[in-house]
Symmetry: C2
Subunit: 336 residues, 2 copies
């Protein structure tokens, strides 16, 4: 008998199909990757090729802009989904088809000069610099009054939707609050109105009490496989302090987050033999940064299984792994 | 400059990033598949292996149940996500974690005895029988009072989430109306309340007037690449008659739908060199079958690009192909 579980943060239902369960270890990649060189002369993100990207928006560096000497470098995406020009006006055709221009920002954070050193294998200090860059760019783009929402994310590996192998993440600043975010925040607002509490904080505390789905706990962060996981090995990193916005993260907290992110990604790497994955920093819409109903958090999604017609048609996810079992695998996996 | 387009049926926004556009033809598969045998003795869906599946729920056949002689055969899924036993009661743990038992149905429609004949290459009569089987199973499972929603779908190819190559589709009957469906239907209901019209019918008629995104039109059906396509070559088949539920399809309409489905899948096959794909029959929740706000339709999604972190985190899809251009490619592709 399978079980349906409801995600308290979205009210979505997830089917946990025990009878379809494979042992967690069977999710691991079976093929091995070809090793990458430390430097690839054909890679536009490698040092020496700075002229092949748009001029940098921000870099941690010695030397002059758009030359070598950087250790984290942010550039506008060469093929942007959104760009900082145009009008926010909506147009409606025939009462049915609404459009607007693609106004916003689309940046790429090049996380390291090293072509073959992803976050799990970086020195702690380098990961800290990456997260501080996230914070800097968040704070910079938040000042653009056209921007309504900021999403930081990483696509790692072909199955996760990336085409370039050099370690990088992306930041998109949208001119609308995405409807999906609106719906999540409606659920959280309703919970807050009913109880006076943040549903994410309540969930984090309940996961800590239950313990079975906790992967890692540090002074300021909790890592869990959530009760209603949509994907096998879906992992959330939640801060203990109640900050709705990632923009409110203080520098010491950012550095601790970096170390927790690295340890968690290393555990995933060990548990699943280097899976493709996405991570997303979920935060509150900019206008609501002082509202109490939300808690910023990171979501990591290993791309093990392909989404199929049922999920695409219903929004109900079938997962074949119990988060209680996968969290146990993660606890045992090496993380530092 | 990219463009944002709003889907009138969900109010979601899609980013059409012209600057990221690849030419449509570049979406085609580049590798060729190994040809399959007509009969695979190791395949549980091939004739002669009937005993390796659960006992059939329904079959079009000569001879006795669970022996050879069938041409379309429906069986309960051997590893079901839901099964027709248990309680519909919700349980709540600690005021936060809601669960219920996995009650429902999960069936597999084996579309043909031939291991290597997918729908685009079947005789018309065989596709008609497949669609009539969809209708029979829809009507049979609809009588179970525990069932709230029925979703018919197909996963074709590894990227689309299937593990078995033998042509088959699936039917899942859920004990809840999926929240995603609730939200879609809220948008459609609101549109109906405002205008007295079905938003899907309005969209279909507007697409017919515009013409640029129409792939195919027959006596009873329209095939389009919708204005706010989420995926390159996303294709919808809409009936001209206003029926909210797939269960209301009459036999002659079902047969015409079969021929349109086959022609559309063949065009996709030719345009994209046999892509992996999903299709989904979207219908109304069972209790609402007589409501006017909805129109059943089929959605076909070629699995060309992988969903990335931005889509997963925001619900906004970035597509790199204009539906006006891909519809043109489809119009020219051979469909019969």
């Amino acid at each position: 008998m399978s079980e349906l579980r409801q995600d308290p943060t979205t009210n979505d239902w997830i089917i946990v199909a025990k009878e379809r369960t494979q042992r967690p270890v069977q999710f691991a990649r079976t093929e091995n990757r070809a090793p990458l060189p430390e430097h690839d002369p054909s890679c536009p993100f490698c040092p020496g090729n700075e002229a092949r990207t748009p001029p940098e928006a921000w870099a941690y560096r010695t030397g002059r802009a758009n030359e070598q000497g950087w250790w984290v470098r942010t550039i506008p995406n060469k093929f942007p989904a959104l760009r900082p020009e145009g009008s926010l006006e909506r147009r409606m055709e025939n009462g049915l088809f609404r459009t607007m221009q693609g106004v916003g920002h689309h940046e790429v954070v090049i996380e390291t000069p090293s072509h073959n050193t992803p976050i799990p294998f970086m020195p702690d200090g380098q990961v800290e610099e990456v997260v501080l860059m996230y914070r800097d760019r968040y704070l910079a783009l938040r000042d653009d009054p056209r921007v309504k929402y900021l999403i930081l994310f990483k696509n790692s590996g072909e199955r996760a939707g990336t085409s370039l192998l050099h370690p990088h993440s992306q930041l998109v600043a949208t001119p609308i609050v995405p409807p999906y975010i609106r719906r999540k925040h409606e659920v959280a607002t309703q919970y807050f109105d009913n109880t006076g509490k943040c549903v994410y904080c309540e969930m984090r505390d309940e996961e800590l009490r239950a313990g079975t789905r906790v992967v890692l706990e540090t002074e300021r962060f909790v890592v869990i496989h959530p009760f209603a996981s949509r994907y096998p090995f879906e992992t959330w990193i939640l801060p203990k302090a109640h900050h709705p916005s990632f923009g409110q993260i203080a520098v010491p907290e950012a550095k601790e987050f970096a170390r927790v992110l690295k340890a968690t990604l290393l555990k995933l790497w060990k548990a699943l033999n280097g899976p493709d994955y996405n991570y997303i920093l979920h935060t509150i819409p900019l206008k609501d940064e002082n509202e109490e109903y939300y808690l910023w958090h990171a979501q990591i999604i290993p791309r093990i299984a392909h989404m199929a017609g049922f999920e695409m048609g219903s929004g109900i996810y079938i997962t074949t792994a119990l988060p209680e079992e996968t969290a146990e695998v993660m606890r045992k996996a090496e993380g530092e």
